[in-house]
């Protein structure tokens, strides 16, 4: 809860990275090659909603992208372009698609070779379309709406998974976890926020859960922001579902979890799909009791990759939280850098081709090598986590599980 502190130290982290990166870069370039001209930098647009209602996510995303750029530059920049450093052209979508589009126009004018970011689906839908007019490659960081990659825009790529994949994986994994525990769960209640994210997810869940043997007792939609979850808790108590499936943003998730704890509700499990707080270190830090045993199916880094663990340590050392916006954006920039290397050019068309043929595994995510089909990275998938004790453990898939699922919840 020391919010003011972490904001400033995040800045200092960036400054440190940038300074360190710059120092190393100048050291590398300056000393032995004083006579060699500094290669022109490669401008990349970094677009996030850093102000407005979703500014926290936007700022986390920007931080991830900037750190990746600093690291890449520190390691020598884009080798096939003579060690050209990546130059971040920062843009603020102000949590509005209209302004996001203006930022895209600005970046296009400044000659960026690609744009990364967007975060919110509503912003991404507008900004990818605007970028397509310039054949400007656009790598979506989070935006999960399926429409983003189904409009046939050749410039649009998404590194992470979309709704459809997330939902079917979530359900598959749930079935597996349930079976492994002897099928204790059969009835389900879905509690979702009522915008694009929550409604879309709830729709898919309602469609697919019954096909897999679950009974959806009730689906409750709530607005963001929601003032009070006591009545939602009442309905949970009335229905007594085995499983509660929340799909909402951080604040509401926390409020719901706390209310459930307050009202002594004890479902067999809380299984979130893209839960706003369910796999958040911040939630765990602030409300450890309410967070225990909560499972999530969400974006997560590959815990087997040392680079990911190192980054986590760096971010946390500065007092920031290692949230999904950070590592997704970091990875996206890495993918872009790889594409630039293989394209050996800053030409937008060449970068699009390089992305389309990308097969890169140097990123932080558990996706395997990238493979974009119609813009969607095929290996992208969510991962199941559970909050156990003081850690967020990966419980599924087995290749990188760090703990076994504890299900059903062992209440005292």
């Amino acid at each position: 809860m020391t919010k003011t502190r972490f904001t400033w130290t995040r800045r200092s982290l960036l400054q440190a990275s940038a300074a360190g990166g710059a120092a190393m870069a100048t050291g590398v370039i300056g000393a032995p090659a004083i006579l060699r001209a500094q290669p022109a930098s490669v401008p990349i647009g970094v677009l996030h909603p850093v102000t407005g209602a979703i500014s926290y996510s936007g700022q986390q995303g920007r931080m991830g992208a900037e750190m990746a750029i600093a690291d890449i530059n520190a390691a020598g920049g884009i080798q096939t372009l003579g060690g050209a450093p990546i130059e971040a052209v920062l843009g603020d979508a102000q949590s509005s698609p209209e302004i996001g589009v203006t930022e895209v126009e600005r970046m296009a004018e400044e000659g960026v070779s690609a744009i990364v970011g967007g975060f919110a689906s509503s912003i991404c839908l507008a900004t990818t379309e605007a970028a397509s007019r310039y054949d400007l490659p656009y790598l979506v960081d989070v935006g999960v709406s399926d429409s983003i990659v189904t409009r046939g825009l050749a410039n649009t790529f998404r590194f992470g998974p979309g709704f459809g994949t997330i939902t079917s994986d979530a359900i598959n994994n749930l079935v597996t976890i349930n079976e492994a525990a002897g099928n204790p769960a059969r009835t389900v209640m879905i509690i979702h926020e009522d915008s694009l994210f929550g409604s879309g997810l709830a729709g898919l869940l309602n469609e697919q859960l019954p096909q897999r043997g679950f009974e959806v007792l009730e689906t409750i939609a709530h607005p963001t922001p929601q003032r009070d979850f006591n009545n939602v808790a009442l309905r949970i108590r009335a229905n007594e579902p085995d499983l509660v499936i929340p799909a909402n943003y951080y604040n509401e998730y926390v409020l719901l979890a706390r209310t459930m704890q307050q009202q002594r509700l004890q479902p067999k499990g809380i299984y979130s799909v893209l839960g706003g707080a369910a796999s958040s270190y911040r939630f765990l830090a602030e409300f450890p009791e309410a967070a225990q045993y909560i499972m999530d199916c969400n974006h997560w880094f590959d815990p087997r990759k040392q680079a990911a663990l190192d980054l986590k340590a760096r971010v946390e050392a500065e007092g920031a939280y290692f949230t999904y916006e950070v590592f997704l954006n970091y990875s996206c920039v890495q993918v872009l850098a790889d594409a630039l290397e293989r394209a050996a050019s800053t030409d937008r068309g060449a970068v699009i081709e390089a992305l389309a043929s990308s097969s890169f595994d140097g990123h932080l995510m558990p996706y395997g090598p990238t493979e974009f089909v119609d813009g969607q990275n095929q290996g992208a998938a969510p991962v199941n986590t559970q909050i156990l004790g003081e850690e967020i453990e990966v419980i599924f898939p087995d290749e990188f599980a760090s703990a076994d699922a504890v299900f059903p919840i062992p209440y005292q």
Partner: protein, 290 residues
């Protein structure tokens, strides 16, 4: 769905929420009743007071209930100064201008908060936050029970102030007949500012009561503004009793609306009441006929 175990807690929830709404609406109705200002900045000031209480807890270790005293005093002053030196000079005598000025103030406050504190929500953790009052049929979170009684207490206190003190008499005089009040020597400008200050003080108290069980972020005021207006219109602009009863009614409407229509659609109940009241009985349940 209709068992006592659902309905009774829903009623109690509604009443507890309603009491806090009533407290917020009390300030608004007082301000309207005397100054005829619809204070659009009410929600933003609530948000500011919540931030003040938040930082009092985080930086100075003040329990929110203790913080009520300093925060209320501070916001009383802020309200006084705002009314006297910002709102009145800008109004040029038109109602609509005041609406616009208070709208402007709310935009400024909300975005300043966004600029300095970012959009992420903050919560405080107090030792009693998870305590419940266990009535077999319902579990009532302790902070909300406290808020309920505190709100009632403030309403009573306000009523007493208006009825029995000189200040209250002066305020009522100005509300009833401004020229006459001036003629008997009441400093009208001062009374206006005092009233506004009182209204904002109510909001500050509500903020401290809300904090233990709720969260604060720059947008939190928006959630309460329309509800507060609805209550004021329902109860009757200028009526303290009306604000209290209206608040409780709206709390119940929200609770049952959410229970039966779902939280998303249930919000409509409040807005529809608002529209219907405005159309058919703008003076509200307890207000004077306009």
């Amino acid at each position: 769905m209709f068992s006592a175990f659902i309905l009774v807690p829903a009623i109690l929830n509604g009443l507890m929420t309603g009491a806090v709404y009533a407290l917020i609406a009390l300030g608004l109705t007082l301000i309207y009743g005397v100054l005829h200002i619809i204070n659009f900045a009410h929600g933003a000031l609530l948000m500011a007071a919540m931030f003040a209480a938040y930082f009092a807890h985080e930086l100075l270790g003040f329990d929110p209930y203790l913080a009520i005293l300093p925060v209320t005093a501070a916001f009383f002053a802020i309200g006084y100064l705002l009314q006297r030196f910002v709102i009145t000079p800008s109004s040029h005598g038109k109602d609509e201008n005041i609406l616009l000025v208070t709208l402007g103030i709310s935009i400024i406050l909300e975005n300043l908060a966004l600029a300095f504190f970012q959009a992420d929500t903050r919560t405080i953790d107090t030792p009693y936050a998870f305590e419940i009052v266990d009535l077999d049929i319902a579990f009532l979170p302790l902070p909300r029970v406290i808020a309920f009684f505190a709100a009632l207490g403030v309403a009573l206190a306000l009523f007493a102030i208006m009825r029995f003190t000189d200040l209250g008499r002066a305020i009522r005089a100005v509300a009833k007949e401004k020229r006459g009040a001036e003629l008997v020597g009441i400093d009208v400008k001062h009374i206006y500012a005092m009233t506004f200050g009182l209204g904002i003080a109510c909001v500050a108290i509500a903020a401290c009561l809300l904090l233990p069980n709720y969260y604060v972020n720059p947008q939190v005021g928006n959630a309460f503004v329309l509800v507060a207006f609805t209550i004021v219109v329902l109860g009757g602009m200028g009526s303290v009793t009306g604000a209290l009863i209206g608040g409780l009614i709206i709390g119940l409407v929200e609770s049952f609306g959410g229970l039966f229509l779902g939280e998303s659609l249930g919000q409509i109940g409040i807005f529809l009441i608002f529209i219907i009241m405005l159309l058919f009985r703008p003076s509200g349940l307890f207000g004077q006929r306009a």
